[in-house]
Subunit: 203 residues, 2 copies
């Protein structure tokens, strides 16, 4: 046998073992469920990930609802883009700045309540297949919404409805009830090297 | 002072300190750059994150190119969705299954080469503002493409062009030249609890 054919043979064996593991996992994964996903951590890509899932959902003919609980200083590409599809995406952005921009706890709470009212409507609408609650983790961390009310609404949502909650500092109570939790960590960030937020990437 | 007004005052002070830190970071971040982002780790949301950035880019009137280096067994929502916009997104999916599905190293290398030819064209086209090389990390980890060629193409791409590379196991040489690196870790995954891949979320 040549070195190359040995290499190819080893590769084949390694991939066969891998396929076996994957096949077993697939065989064991037999039921469908409306998932609760939490995407947390301090790294770049949490909200982007949720918006990628909105794109995926639309590709399957599903409908999506988005509530952005933190409105940044700039208009965002994702909002402009998804507002192109008013029949497919219901899009709500909280009307106020937030946290360190407002420095006003009462105003923040009012804004969070207003956002939550919209979220709750989506979470009781079986026609919406995917609900994105962008940056809700921060709202919950600051205690701006009664936790009990949020957990109840998630629990009572229509069967089959997926929910994605993003933002750093996800609270333990939410992680406990989530189906999938990803933590995005910052290994390196352009911003800290003097590069400002770039359109299409951060905005 | 009431307990509530003390609480509000403390909040205000905390947020003012936070704003100062953010303001200093923003003041120091003064230049623009075509970013190289690497999204790696074993958690859910890496590719979704890249597709969210495609959505963001389109919202800003930018153009995007996508090469998916691993074609799964199922048709994906993101492909169906972004193919709606042929003038805005150039979309290429490698024609073969991959790794543990094919178990054929030579065929994988050929498929990787074909994908790379498309990627290289995008990476030399200044009209494409964002290039997503989905799952390229795995291709590089397996050594299916000459690293030197990949690094050169990234280095020589048009100024201002953003590139997002996804997939677990990003190699050190790529992390070294990236502007931003996020690692997505799996805290919990529905799949391992017997729930199969859900449309809009994983597919």
């Amino acid at each position: 046998m040549t070195a190359e054919s040995i290499c190819n043979q080893r590769h084949r064996e390694r991939m066969l073992r891998k396929q076996k593991v994957v096949d077993e996992l697939i065989a064991g994964a037999t039921h469908d469920k409306g998932l609760l996903l939490v995407i947390t951590g301090n790294g770049k890509g949490k909200s982007s990930s949720a918006f990628g899932m909105v794109a995926r959902s639309l590709g399957h003919g599903m409908k999506a609802g988005v509530v952005q609980f933190i409105k940044g200083a700039f208009s965002t590409g994702e909002e402009t883009f998804f507002r192109r599809f008013p029949d497919e995406v219901e899009y709500h952005v909280m009307g106020e700045g937030f946290t360190w921009v407002t420095q006003d706890r009462n105003r923040d709470i009012q804004a969070a309540e207003a956002g939550w009212t919209v979220a709750q409507t989506m979470l009781s609408n079986p026609a919406i297949n995917l609900v994105v609650l962008d940056e809700l983790n921060i709202v919950l961390k600051f205690g701006y919404l009664p936790l009990e009310r949020v957990l109840n609404a998630l629990h009572q949502r229509p069967a089959g409805q997926h929910v994605v909650i993003t933002g750093r500092g996800a609270i333990r109570e939410l992680i406990d009830i989530a189906d999938t939790v990803s933590e995005v960590n910052n290994i390196k960030h352009a911003f800290k090297q003097g590069i400002r937020a770039q359109k299409g990437i951060e905005l």
